[in-house]
Symmetry: C2
């Protein structure tokens, strides 16, 4: 069974989803607006590539951040938590106003001037109200999707959650409606008068790589192909 | 001139800094308390290794997150921004209440059960009031430290900021006082009754690696040794 087809999406409406998210005051940058975009595919790509996200919310008027794991299913961002976690408790009922942030760092930019040192990155910010997922079928599907992120086929190659485990796991659903992408790519942008300076300039690309799988002592199964 | 010695620290008090941060209600987890620590060196190590941080703050009662670059100098976390940025504007005067989050993802944990899939990570959260750095000497020193993070010696091998560039750059200073570290490391923690399941289990380590430097077209200088 493919995860692609087994997960119900919350956004099954008659209208196809738009290619671009509507810009709102919250998703309008006060600076470097040329780095902003509202492209749906670009946002999805960042959310699908990144392993973790930061979930910000407000407690007693003060900011809090919880780093957590996420998975996008259709036009919903799901974040993982425990039923005892603060934001999960707060998200019962009407939901919790959150700001989710996902960042991929693609490189370090070395300008001839210190001022033009920078980073190449792709970053998505999502504003909205996150609600607790209460439907067991939806929970099971999303947990499958979370596990599938770790390797295509892993969901079928692992034991599904028991009733107790399902009850101990909490998921928040955040609709991908108010979304912005901020990105920098490409090379150095130095001042023209700096081009003759004797300093090296350029970009050092960064990427996240997986090392050799470290097998648990009691395991007899070989390393699965989906980790290759 | 070594950056190590050139940067004034804000925390130059008569008492040596404690090895551990005091725990507060804000830095006490509601779950998995065994993953929490308040160790100063551990927190510094995470802040020094990570390239970027997420800065959360509250605007009109709503959460906002700004991904940005940071540098730790002594017991102060400095984050970088532009003078026009929302949080920087808000941090003038009495400062801005923030929650800064830095996460390093060290691996993906594959349990025999979906429930025990997890991640190895090291994460630091800092609560406090961030204030705008207004002293030009401090600004110059911190910008040097930011540039030095990209390669030891780079600050001397690049043009320092002009007066105009310095005015266009804003830095926030956040004291490292209310700080917590959350981490998971090690292998799989499956249920005893799952150990005989036929599924592979183990950890796939993740790390961020630098690729080959991509030299800007007009550069004649060789790739510097500090990028090797």
């Amino acid at each position: 069974m493919s995860t692609e087809t087994s997960i119900p999406t919350r956004s099954a409406t008659a209208d196809p989803a738009p290619d671009r998210f509507d810009r709102t005051p919250r998703t309008t940058a006060s600076r470097s607006r040329d780095r902003m975009s509202y492209d749906r595919e670009a946002a999805h790509a960042v959310l699908d590539e990144a392993w973790h996200c930061d979930l910000a919310f407000v407690v007693d008027g003060e900011p809090r951040v919880l780093p957590t794991l996420h998975v996008r299913v259709g036009d919903t961002l799901y974040v993982h938590g425990s039923t005892g976690g603060r934001p999960l408790l707060a998200a019962r009922g009407d939901g919790l106003r959150v700001c989710a942030s996902v960042t991929l760092l693609d490189g370090i930019v070395y300008g001839r001037s210190q001022f033009h040192h920078s980073a190449n990155y792709r970053s998505v910010v999502v504003h909205g109200v996150a609600t607790l997922v209460t439907d067991d079928e939806e929970k099971l599907s999303v947990l499958r999707a979370l596990v599938e992120r770790t390797g295509r086929g892993r969901a079928d190659d692992s034991r599904p959650p028991s009733r107790r485990e399902l009850a101990e796991t909490a998921l928040l659903a955040l609709p991908l409606v108010e979304v912005s992408v901020r990105a920098r790519s490409g090379g150095v942008r130095d001042e023209p008068e700096d081009l003759a300076l004797p300093h090296w300039a350029g970009v050092v690309p960064l990427r996240t790589v997986a090392g050799e799988p470290e097998t648990d002592p009691d395991v007899t199964a070989p390393v699965p192909a989906y980790l290759g």
